[in-house]
Symmetry: C2
Subunit: 304 residues, 2 copies
């Protein structure tokens, strides 16, 4: 069994991996992004290529200058160009991770999704996976999709599940079996809720062994997934109830509500990244704390 | 301005109203429901008619006996009959509030929804409104619909909004202006998300004065609705952002996720009731605490 995984442990592992990741940042000029870059350079986790607009070149130079030899800056004319150039650096193998600074997410996504010059892998689904430490929950929890796919169909759920399992295994090693809860408001599979039919198909595929060693159960609500006592009162107990490692949400509104509620009201630390591109992409929200952005960077570097 | 409203204040007001509410309970035999009945009788908030199955008659008698003169018991043959009889007591004016004990919610709802003998008002939408006190939020927050309407259309959103406003005004008096946040994962109105079009229509109706004095804004996410700093970072500030009294959720999955997350991870106290029937209906979940059931009872009695 691995030790309990948290973001500090993630940083330690990266450090001991003996390999500094290379990160391309589009528009690095806000204070939170600067803090993350500075910390990663000083702690020996990553080196950077900073793509900044001409009028922000001085800021970028200053950031790079805090840790000489571990960052270079490149100047662009527009926000769109910082995005295109950062994407190109990743596509051409000069960087292992792509990170958004102060850009609008749309601008970076457009460059990532570009058919000719983007980072998509043919036939792959792009999805967003979040990792969170909630003080009231004893372990790291992964969930999706709070940011990209509005209402997943069965094949999109399948892709989301595979990304989450991959991250779980990368972070925990193969010693622990991931427990996946398929989230809904009740326990009933019901054709009126298309996602519950997709859930049944995921369970069937899991039983066939298509996702490797893992445990899966649902539909169930968040409380049943994360609290044994609530599950017991409802007469629901399985290897997953009360003990979930991964929550698959039915739609973006529910996942986003979970994300915003745990960060605002439950003191949760979160990290998020895009999966399905040629490299991990960090698109932390403008309202995220420096701490959240740092955790996202740790998660992305761990996967790169 | 009224004092900050909380559940204790609700109990005090009921007590000083000089009118004990009359509550019909279907299947009152679990420990949490018993605790609520006992407290309401002792504190002078409500009198009860307890509808119990024959094999639970003794339990019901014992509960009624703890406060002589304030509860009567009636025996039924089946769980379904306890529901039908409790509904009948409300319909015939012998009770002001209907409460579910250990029954399955479905069983009680079937009796409530019965066209001939139920509690529906012709043409009215049945919806579930939750009130919550979250320690990290400075005031009572109402939200909907976490339990009844899966994916509201515009007229259902209109009904939900009216119920929430009505409860807000009953609880707070007319001195405070309710602030309503229409929840989504972004700020964009987008035809791909039908609820954002309904939200635009609600805002239009609000501007026409159709909901009385109130402030409304959205789409916005939970963090923007309840945290001024997050709203500020996103460049969004209105009379609603960071200060919402009412959250209208886009669908039951998102509302249910909010409900379960605040109770499990944020130490929230919640109360819930059905609106749109001839009387308030309490359908607290089996996994709810006695405290949550008590708060639901206080809320329903306040509205009766």
């Amino acid at each position: 069994m691995n030790e309990k995984l948290d973001f500090d442990a993630m940083a330690q592992r990266l450090l001991h991996s003996g390999r500094r990741r290379r990160v391309a940042v589009a528009a690095p000029e806000d204070a939170h992004t600067e803090e993350v870059i500075d910390r990663c350079m000083r702690e020996g986790i990553a080196d950077f290529v900073l793509f900044a607009r001409r009028e922000k070149a001085e800021t970028a130079e200053r950031i790079a200058g805090t840790c000489p030899g571990h960052a270079v800056t490149v100047t662009a004319d527009t926000p769109e160009e910082t995005a295109r150039m950062a994407v190109k650096a990743v596509r051409e193998g000069q960087a292992d991770v792509l990170m958004k600074g102060t850009l609008n997410t749309d601008v970076l996504l457009r460059a990532v999704l570009d058919k000719e010059n983007g980072l998509l892998i043919q036939g792959r689904t792009l999805s967003h996976i979040t990792a969170t430490q909630i003080p009231q929950y004893g372990k790291l929890l992964l969930f999706a999709d709070a940011a990209v796919i509005p209402h997943p169909d069965t094949e999109q759920f399948d892709a989301i599940l595979r990304y989450a399992l991959n991250i779980f295994r990368k972070l925990n090693g193969h010693g622990r079996t991931p427990r996946v809860a398929l989230i809904h408001c009740t326990e009933k599979t019901n054709a009126k809720f298309a996602h519950t039919l997709s859930y049944a198909e995921l369970r069937r595929r899991a039983a066939e062994g298509r996702y490797g060693r893992m445990l899966i159960d649902g539909p169930m609500d968040v409380k049943t997934a994360c609290d044994s006592e609530s599950a017991r009162i409802k007469g629901l107990t399985s290897d997953v109830t009360g003990n979930a490692d991964i929550l698959i949400f039915p739609n973006i509104e529910a996942a986003n509500t979970f994300y915003k509620t745990i960060t605002l009201f439950a003191g949760a630390t979160t990290a998020g990244m895009l999966c399905g591109a040629v490299a991990p992409v960090v698109i932390a929200s403008r309202a995220d704390s420096a701490e959240a952005k740092m955790c996202s960077m740790l998660m992305a570097c761990s996967l790169a």
